[in-house]
Each structure stands twice: as C-alpha cells, then as structure tokens.
Symmetry: C2
Subunit: 296 residues, 2 copies
Amino acid sequence: MNPELKQWQQRAAAQTEILLERALPQPTQSPETLHEAMRYVTLGGGKRLRPLLVFAAAELGNSVQAACEAAAVAVECIHVYSLVHDDMPAMDNDSLRRGKPTCHIQYDEPTALLVGDALQTLAFDVLSVPTDLAAARQMRMLNVLARASGSVGMAGGQAIDLANVGADLSQAELENMHSLKTGALIRAAVALGGLSCPDLNDEQLARLDVYASKLGLAFQVIDDVLDCEADTATLGKTAGKDSEANKPTYVKLMGLAAARKYAEDLVAQAVDALAPFGERAARLRELAEFVVVRQN
Amino acid sequence: MNPELKQWQQRAAAQTEILLERALPQPTQSPETLHEAMRYVTLGGGKRLRPLLVFAAAELGNSVQAACEAAAVAVECIHVYSLVHDDMPAMDNDSLRRGKPTCHIQYDEPTALLVGDALQTLAFDVLSVPTDLAAARQMRMLNVLARASGSVGMAGGQAIDLANVGADLSQAELENMHSLKTGALIRAAVALGGLSCPDLNDEQLARLDVYASKLGLAFQVIDDVLDCEADTATLGKTAGKDSEANKPTYVKLMGLAAARKYAEDLVAQAVDALAPFGERAARLRELAEFVVVRQN
C-alpha cells in the first residue's frame, strides 16, 4: 500500500474517533449507563470503513467540512447500531465483536436494545445540524442515509438474511440480500461524501454510485471468504459463525478461490468507474484495493 | 366536547391513517414479512395523539401541508417503534397492545426488533423528503425530532425508567423520567406542527413549547391514573402492569385523587400558555382537555 495513502487512512480513522467521541454524549450525562454503553460499542475499534469512504469521496470535490464530518459520524452510528442489534440473542446471539464482549454481554439486553435505538437516532441528529452546505443538499444527505438504512435498505437486508437461514439461495438472491444488508450503507457513505461537495453534479454522483455498488458487493464477498479462512483472534469476532449458522455465503455458492477472484473483479470494476475523476479519486481507489487485501 | 372539534379530531385521525398507509411500504414489496409487520403495528389503531398535536399546532399559522403531514407520520412512526421495542421480552415483555397481540407475539422477536428499527428510520425518511417549506426550516424539524427521540429524549427516558424499577423516586425524579420518556415526543409533535408554519416566530414557538411541556406531563399522570383505574378491555393493553412491575407512578406517589387533580392543573396551565393565539388555538385547547377525560 502507498505509504502516503496508508498514512491518510490512519489519520482519517483517528479523526473519525475524535468526531465520534465529540458526537456521543458524555458518560457523566444522564442516563449515565446508556451513554457509557453507547460509547463502549462505538469508540476504540472498528475498521471505520464507512467514514473512510465518506472522507475519500469528499476528496472528489470541494467538500464542506462540517457536512462531511457529520456524515462520517452518522454512517458509523448507523453501522454500529446495526451491529449491536445484530449481536442480540434474538438475532445472531453473538458474544464477541471488535475483540470485546458484545453490548448485551457487557451490559444487558434492554441496554443493548436502547443503545442501538439511540445510536440510530444520533445519526440523524448529527446530520441535521446546520452547516455551510445548502440546507436542501444536506436534507438530501439525510434522505439518502434514511433510505439506505431502513426496510428497503440495511434493515430490509437483515430481514431477508434472517428469513433465509438454511436456505439455498441463487447468486442473484444472495446478491440482492447483500446489496441491502451491507451494500446500501456503503453506497450511502460514498454518496454522502460526494453530496458534501456542492460542486459535484448528479452525473458525477451516479458514476460514484457505480463504484460504491461494486465495492459494497466485493466487501461482502471478502467477508464470507474471511469468515471461512480466518481465525477468531484475527477477525475480532467469532469466526466461522455464518457457515455454522447455515447461512448462505459466496464461499458455499462458488468455492473459496472463485469467491476471492470474484471480489477482485468487482474491485477492478469499481476502480474503472472512477477513471474520469483522475487523481482526486486516488483515496477511493486505494480503499477499494484495501477491501480485498484486508485480514479482518 | 364541542361537536365540531370532535369531528375535526376524527377527521384528523382518519387522515393520519391514510398518510401512514401511504408512507409504509406495501406488504407485497420485499422483504414482505417485515413490511407486513410494520403495517400490522402501525395501522388500524392507536389514539394518534401525536399526529393530532402536529395538526392542531399547525393551525396556529400558515402551515405548509406536506411538511405538516410528513411530521404527523414521522412522530407516529417514532411512537410506534418505541412501543414495539418496549413490548419485547427484554423490556416490558407485554403481549397485548392496542387490543392486539404485540409484534413479537404475532411475528417473532427478530421481526419485532427490525420493525422497530425500520419504523424509526422511516420517520426520518419521510421527514427528509423536500416540501414547499424552506429546507433550513425542515431540517430544523428533523433535528427537533431526533433530539426528542434519542438518548437525551425518549430513549433516555426509557433507560431511566428501566433503571428505576422497584426504586422510590421523588416527584422531581419521576417528572424528569417522564419528561423524557413521554414528554419529549409530545413536545416534538407540537413543535413540528408549529415549525411547519413559516409565519410562526421563535417567541411563539417557545410559548407553544410551554403548552406542550405541561400537556406531556399531564398525559403521563393520567396514564398512571388509567393504569390503576381501568380494566384491560377498555385500555387495550394490559392494565395494572406498571403497578405490578413495581414501577414508580404518580398514583403511588400522591394517591389517585391528587394525581387526577394534578393532571387537571397541568392542563389548565397548558391552556393558559395559548392565550395570545386566540381562536387559532382552539384545537390545541380541546386536545389538552381530551387528555384528562380520555378513558384509554
């Protein structure tokens, strides 16, 4: 990996941590336990892929910094809320996440439920604070985030996933599920970074969305590969769980080597879509390539 | 009750039903079960108090209809999401709501979790669709709704409530809990109706908020009274459950008659705050009085 981009990535992840820390209510503020638990699940971990995508997409134009930062916080809050609810006993019943006990283990189930609920709200709270971006464009960001998160986006993908445990899905069905469950929020992250630039037009945003769609799919394919290959320590979450839970995966569908090759092809297509942006798309290219080389 | 206002109330509730029906995805749209369950919990029931407050507050000025209607849908989606999650086994473990089996009974726990999650998202989705209202003002509506719903609003009140089961709260502590758990969203409903009128200024909105704060508190006091007095059939949810769960209530704190009197005083104060609005506040006055005479 290009050392300059590697450094950028570390800086952006560190900046995300600072922004999240500021956006989350203090643990000394009532209700203390809820706020402490919100910080527990959000701070100090995670790949921060979605915020990195926001920042990288924002480099394509003259981004309004406050809107871009709010978007980075908002997508990560939505992502973390979904992990907290996903891990609950009623869903995946998982006890390990980002190398730490999951929220309902560390606290309890009611707290985990409320932590997820309140993190979702916080996403829309943070993104609806006025910035120098035109309000109409910022409201469009809010709508993009909402559409991507709800029943025709991430939550809907989750529902399809749950309904298909033990089922034999075709590749088209599997891709539909993942395009909602993981892809929708990845697309939203990229779109929000783009929308934070007043100078990017709809044609450019559409091109950016091609990149994001391919990348989101590649990300999920690699997730399946890692779930199959990696051990729990490297992954920071319980390895092999999707396979054990009899969930459909790309590895089951096409085999390990073909799944990895498929992810690489998708990343190449994602990068192709960025060609007209030239050098300004360097970060987005690098992030796409990072997705296929990552170990967790 | 004034027959004309009674008729208005029925019309507004019917209009809310139509708006919710339109805002909710069709049950034929994938994921079908999730969408069917979202409709199951949202349609065909409820007092629709929060949408009625939006509509009533919108009569104080020259409301932008689409913004007002979106707000009515949004507050009800937030309210219903909170009920669905509240009723889950990890929380109140209730099996009856609005006279029907609760979501996790009718469907299952994962569905109830996702229904609540997706209804919260839908609220912000609906309210972030552009209308004729200035985008900056509509974004302010989004922020008001988010602040009222999250960890320093409704979800926070829920956390405080859970933490205090079996505890002896003072009246100040009880009021703080309810001002978040129930009051915050009632205040938001009134504020959103007001904000949908471009001609209402901040001084008028502040006055409106005094009304809403008093009303929200009165609503909760009466809820405790009804929980103690009413039978399950009239209430449409399990009666006496707060008392049985050893939760702090106004009835326990001050006795039944004093609690009822307190609610009546609060309603009188709420109505007083509306004096400068004259006849345009007729609906808001009527709704405040409805709160203390209601049987469920």
